[in-house]
Each structure stands twice: as structure tokens, then as C-alpha cells.
Subunit: 188 residues, 2 copies
């Protein structure tokens, strides 16, 4: 069977002493933090890496969109930037968990908070292609977080990225975030 | 941290020679089938069982609702029956996979097919509490299916259950199902 571009992609984020990304800092935004580490390996594919002598391991999977309408998907696709561009030497990995109150909401209630009130999709679209992004789901993977979002950008967009993060954290949606860690990375 | 009733519950379905459920038949509806086996173990919890000398193993996780509105959630909750009632000695496990074309749809397009055209939620509600049901997601668990639905009912509702299954298979939503196996079970 051929893989579709929309098939889930399994990704492992492994902290330790090796990896293509240097960890510049790990900040705890809310809830429990994550231990310090020197470097991060980002491994695509369903083989979970050997964690001997490593630090924390976070697993996630890309998936279908959960809230976006066709018009929103098309707008994002038209502007979207791919990961791994030569100039994007900065990255952020932001694992978040949402509260039980969020998950007890019905689909229409979550969509209303996510987009009608918080403009999560609209805000994100403003920042592409400068900020490339990939969302990984992990609520069903028995890990400590619900989502791992990976961002990449060139150094000249560092301030722009701060603005994006602060705008999202100021939304009504973020009232439902009960654990968030902000990991900043760079590569040569 | 306290578990919420909406926290994902991980469930393993293991075919083999032991288990609380006798497998009465396994029918292939579309796509590749599953091997015959005598019995099925249904194991709740995140420990994946030992599969030595066993048949196929399917893993899934309950999750938040993906399409239901608050009104639909409340209607289902008001009528919903729990699993494991003494009189529900018949069960069905129906693993399905949906096509790439389905997963390429945006959220609003999937909702339109799922409920506006196919009345998936409305049809399901008609049959509770006679037919109790639990949906397990597995699209992000790297298995061969996207969903594992488990149904339980008393023997006198066997014909009613057939009607439910046939109505769902006749919907527009089912045009997007490219693999489906229907496993019928009973217990004393």
C-alpha cells in the first residue's frame, strides 16, 4: 500500500549528549518541567530509539487536522514552509498538556474556543512561511503530554517567533493548558 | 494526578486459545481479513500483553469525541449503557480502516459526511441502551486499522444489531472504509 502524504508520521524526540540540535535552554511555562540536556535527536519513523545513556524521550505522531475547515487547510497549505530548510537554524519544541476540563468539552465547544475565540489557526497562518511548524499528537500514546509542537525559523525571525508564542499563550485556549515546557534549540 | 473519566483508556484485543470471549466467526467485509482464532482476550490498561503462542493483537485507545456537539454528547450520555452487564453475552469487534481520501478531508468536510449525510451519531443513539458500544482509536498507534469498535448486547437484540451494522455500512461515510473485519463473539 502506498503511503499518503497525510499518513501519520511517527517522531521520537530524544534528549541526551548527541543529536543534530543543541539545546540552548529549557523553560517551564506551567506544571512540571523537563530535565536539562545538551542535545536533541529528532528521529522520524516508527522505530523507537534506544534510550541507553539518554535523557527524556517524547513520542508523537502527525495526524489529520482536528479543527481546520477546508478553507483554512487550503490557506495554510498555500503558504506553508517545509521543515529542514538550510536557513532555519533555530527551533523550538513545545510540549503541552491540556486539562481534563478541555477534554470533557464536545467538538463544537473546543472548536469555538480554539478558533472563534482564540484564533489559533488564524494567528498561526500569519507567521508562515517565516515560522515552519509541525504538530505531533501524543494524547493516545501514553506519554506525559498531549501535543508536541515543533517550530523552525531563521535567526532573523527570533523576535517574530517570541511574538507568536506570546499571542498564543494569551488566548482563552491557553487557560486549558496545565503543563507546558518551552525548549529552544539551534544548529550550525 | 487523578484520572478523569475522559482520559484515554488503552485496550488490547488479543486472539488465541484463551480469553473471556469465544470467537463465533470472523467475516471479512472489505480488504484484508484476520486469521481465525478460538477466543479473544480484552485487556484494559497500558501494559501490552505477552503475545507468545497467541494470534493477532489489536491495540486501541479511547479518546475525546471528534465530531459530536454538546447536544449530541448529552443525548448519548443520557441513554448510554455501560459495558460488562450480565445480560450482554454477545459482542462484536469491528476493526475498520478509512482511505487516504477520507484523511485528506478537512474537519468540516468529514463532519458533513459523518453526520449531515450519514447520520452516524443519530443512528448510533437510536440503538442505545440495547447496544452498548466503545470506540477505540488506533490510527496513531501504528497498527493496521484506524478504529476498533466494540459492541455488546443481549441475545434478544441480535437482529437489532444486524440492522444497525447494515444501516451504517449503507452510508456515504462507508464509501471511505477500505478495510473492515467483523468479529462476532459470545460468552456464557
Amino acid at each position: 500500500m502506498n503511503r499518503s502524504e497525510n499518513d501519520p508520521l511517527f517522531v521520537s524526540f530524544l534528549a541526551g549528549s548527541i543529536g543534530q540540535w543543541k539545546i540552548d535552554r529549557i523553560s517551564t511555562v506551567i506544571g512540571e518541567g523537563l530535565e536539562a540536556a545538551e542535545r536533541l535527536r529528532v528521529i522520524e519513523g516508527s522505530q523507537v530509539p534506544d534510550t541507553t545513556n539518554s535523557g527524556w524521550l517524547l513520542l508523537g505522531s502527525t495526524s489529520n487536522t482536528r479543527y481546520s475547515t477546508r478553507a483554512e487547510v487550503d490557506e495554510m497549505k498555500a503558504k506553508q514552509a517545509s521543515l529542514g530548510r538550510e536557513e532555519t537554524t533555530r527551533a523550538a519544541l513545545i510540549p503541552i498538556r491540556k486539562s481534563a476540563a478541555w477534554w470533557e468539552l464536545a467538538q463544537d465547544e473546543r472548536r469555538a474556543i480554539f478558533e472563534d475565540h482564540s484564533r489559533h489557526i488564524s494567528i498561526g497562518v500569519e507567521y508562515v512561511p517565516a515560522i515552519a511548524r509541525r504538530l505531533h499528537h501524543c494524547r493516545e500514546l501514553r506519554g506525559p503530554f498531549d501535543f508536541l509542537t515543533w517550530f523552525e525559523y531563521a535567526p532573523q525571525y527570533a523576535d517574530v517567533f517570541e511574538k507568536l508564542v506570546h499571542r498564543l499563550r494569551a488566548t482563552k485556549e491557553w487557560d486549558y493548558v496545565d503543563r507546558e515546557v518551552d525548549i529552544r534549540l539551534s544548529r550550525r
